[in-house]
């Protein structure tokens, strides 16, 4: 009988102990924002028959708006899930590659929607899919992870896309480079949370196809360097498929060679700029130059060929077939050489003008300086063509 009483007491104590009550005043906690270290990709899986998907899309939009460009959202409609009614071709947003990615992540006909994958990474044991209520949390966490690579895409026109990849690590990196076509603001059918059917729902960030195959092309990038990768596509073909290119953008992904995570991502809109293409100038260890820039150089090395004491600034330039360079030198007595494909030597004059016709898609550019007497010197390069110009000022400060 005593044992019985003890058992009943244990039962009662257990009832009272194991329960947390959260009063209304303590149910929400405001937390600090975080500084993002990288751009994150949210791949949202959705379907026109999924009642909670509009809520998830609103949530993704809110996350994107508040991310200051640090979040890219792409929405996929895999045909293999029960919520994606692809039978009605008028509202068919499925894509062959969407099915490939969905299957790769372990998606099945019964995977609950809406769901999403963040940066192609598993969130827990063998599971890639994050419920939409947890997207904010996983994205926030991922944004705080330092990145090995960065990807930027310049504005794309005339069927040409260029991705600039920078490797800031001390290791050479192999990766898969993939270009996605994403179309925004597609008006079509969607089942709404209240059960109604909306035939004019605005679908955003819809994945249309992988332009260079589901897993793209294998690439490599050396440590501490940047490279440009060009991709051509047919705008005519895309228009034939019914895509509205004015609403389209290209998303460039650098996925690790073992496909375990997305290393970097970038995006840019497709423009109708029929003028001469803007060029892209990058500096090694700095990245793409987006506006007027000043670089300070204070170290020298010995040029293996000439044996002279030399400073070097090296980078790459893309796309512009014709580019002009004006050089202004503040100090005399500095010998310099500029190479864009071909090299030209400075002649000590205060100003010079050069024109280059770049026959390759990319050209390495570099400038060497041979300071005679270790005095400070400043050279300003003005790179320009009909669509773009920028000033690069290099200051030598010994």
């Amino acid at each position: 009988m005593r044992n019985t009483i003890n058992a009943i007491l244990f039962f009662l104590i257990g009832m009272l102990a194991a329960c947390d009550y959260i009063p209304p005043s303590e149910q929400l906690i405001e937390i600090d924002g975080v500084t993002s270290q990288r751009i994150v990709l949210l791949t949202e899986f959705s379907g026109i028959g999924c009642v909670n998907c509009p809520t998830a899309q609103d949530m993704a939009d809110e996350l994107e708006r508040g991310s200051d460009g640090q979040l890219i959202v792409v929405q996929m409609h895999p045909a293999t899930n029960a919520f994606t009614f692809s039978a009605d071709k008028e509202y068919d947003y499925t894509a062959k590659e969407a099915d490939i990615y969905y299957s790769f992540f372990g998606g099945t006909a019964t995977t609950p929607f809406p769901t999403g994958v963040i940066d192609f990474k598993e969130i827990n044991n063998n599971n890639y899919f994050a419920d939409y209520t947890t997207w904010g949390s996983y994205i926030r966490s991922r944004q705080q992870a330092k990145t090995q690579l960065s990807v930027s895409l310049q504005s794309i026109t005339n069927g040409k896309a260029v991705a600039i990849i920078e490797n800031s690590t001390d290791t050479d990196i192999d990766f898969q480079l993939i270009f996605w076509l994403v179309e925004d603001s597609i008006s079509g059918r969607q089942l709404m949370p209240d059960g109604s059917v909306n035939d004019n729902y605005l679908h955003r960030h819809v994945f249309r196809e992988a332009l260079n195959g589901a897993w793209g092309t294998k690439q490599s990038i050396l440590k501490q360097s940047s490279d440009n990768y060009r991709f051509n596509f047919s705008e005519t073909d895309l228009k034939t498929k019914g895509y509205d290119l004015s609403h389209c953008r290209i998303v460039a992904l650098a996925v690790s060679a073992d496909m375990s995570e997305l290393l970097a991502v970038g995006q840019a809109k497709i423009t109708n700029n029929a003028q001469e293409e803007p060029f892209v100038l990058t500096i090694n260890r700095i990245g793409a130059i987006r506006g007027d820039t000043t670089i300070i150089v204070n170290g020298t090395q010995i040029d293996a060929i000439s044996g002279k004491e030399q400073m070097e600034v090296r980078g790459s330039i893309s796309l512009a077939q014709h580019i002009e360079v004006d050089i202004e030198r503040e100090e005399m007595g500095i010998e310099d050489q500029l190479c864009i494909g071909a090299c030209v030597n400075g002649n000590m004059q205060t100003s010079q003008h050069f024109e280059f016709n770049i026959s390759n898609a990319y050209s390495t550019w570099y400038a060497h300086y041979y300071p005679a007497d270790h005095k400070p010197a400043t050279i300003t390069y003005r790179f320009y063509n009909s669509s773009r110009h920028l000033n690069l000022t290099i200051r030598y400060e010994p």
Partner: protein, 549 residues
Amino acid sequence: MSSFLMRKIVFSILLILCYSLVAHADSDISFSGSLQHDGLFAMQDDEIGTEDYSFPYLSNTYLNLMLSSKWVNAGLRVETMEAPLPGYEGGFKGSGIGNIYIQGKWKWGKLTIGDVYSQFGSGLILRLYEERNLGIDNSLRGGRLELTPYKGIRIEAIGGKQRVYWNCYNKTAWNFNMSKGAVVGGDIELDIDEWSQTMQQKGMTLNIGASWVSKYEPQDTIFKSYAPPTIYNLPRWVGAADARVQFGYKGFSLLAEYAWKANDPSADNNFSYAHGEALLLSASYSRRGLSALLQVKRSENMAFRSDRLARGNAAYINHLPPFTQAHTYYLADLNAYATQLQGEWAFQGELRYTWKRHTAMGGKHGTTLRLHAAHIRGTSDKNWWASTKETYYTDINLELNKRISKRWYINAMYMYQTFNAQVIEGHGELIRSHIVVADVKYVTSDKVEMRAELQYLFSRQDEGQWLYALYELSLFNDLMITVSDMYNIGGTDISSRLNYYMVAASYQKGAHNISLGFGRSRAGYSCVGGVCRFVPAEKGVRINYNFTF
């Protein structure tokens, strides 16, 4: 300690135990088990919309081994689903030991260590079970203690980490790390009639029960809003309690059960802090030739999972009975009801009467008539008693079962059904259907039986009218051949009027049962006890093998 080493230790204990038990050659020791293999040679069929299959052969296999003796029981179940049958959730795929336990019995106590199942009362706050058809196995890996210290008193304590597919292979599970998915609970039942001679003499039974269950989960970072960033303060311990009383007297039985759950913000309830509750009332009467049942249930916000972010059928701790009839006829089960955990009012009643043989209605062999009705609505915010105007489900069916002669049997049913597809499946309309079934069996001899079914569904909604026919031939009590076809005669266009045919044969010899079938099946929901799983369309050769030893 690594999970690999832990597994080695457990297996070694089991092997030593098996050896020592067998070595003593005690006649009380018995060894039993079963093997179940369900496979499908899958074929693509774009007409019915089958999936793209990554493997040509899909299968689910289960091997159960059990050792029973006077003092100790032990068992394990090996499962392999590397390429599972269509329609199972993604986490279902895998192989390994899905269940292992050892149980010791002594006097008035029983202790089980390993994977345990249990149910408290009607399961409103705890039901741990395996249902292979749904891919459900929500056992706890931990322990279960059952005590019957005195007559009429049963006490149970249970605790462990809940199985969610293959999470039991995490190091955390083997090391009993309760960092996520930990569940503990207790139950006490008192049979008052055991202490009252008066009650026993009058044939009365009175049972009172009470239970509690609590689950532990660490904080998750779930955003309520992003500007400014605001997260939910989530409770780590969520408790639930249940109380019930059951009374029986001379064929009457009354049950009243109430369950309450504390604040449990989760993906199921959109992170609401409201408490959950369920009330279940049941009255039944039965005597020879007559039975009646009346049940009422009200439930609200009673989804109780060990993982607040889980979706689908994973991680449920409890189970709410559906209060609808589980139909065995295909068209009657075409639109099966799934319990709506956000809230529902459910009513169910049944009356069954058997006319005796050699009476006007009973005829020569007797006649049974059964009337069953179920009606389900949503709960309303207006007050506790109010329900929504919206019907979730209605089912009224009248079934006649009669043996016409020595060799002829007939079962006939009429059913009226309303099914709110928007609420239950997330899309669609209110579907009203009339279903008629005729099921005739002819026994030619002890060794040969034939059965034929004809079913017809009429509806002006959804896919319209359906026709289903089945013929079954049973030979020598061992062999059964079945041919069936389901045809959508009311499809909106010709291309949707498809035949879903099936030819199958099954053979039973002793403890072995094997069946082979070829055909195609329509996409739909497979439901057991109010829990449903979406099954995509499939076509191919089905193989099922069962062996019990």
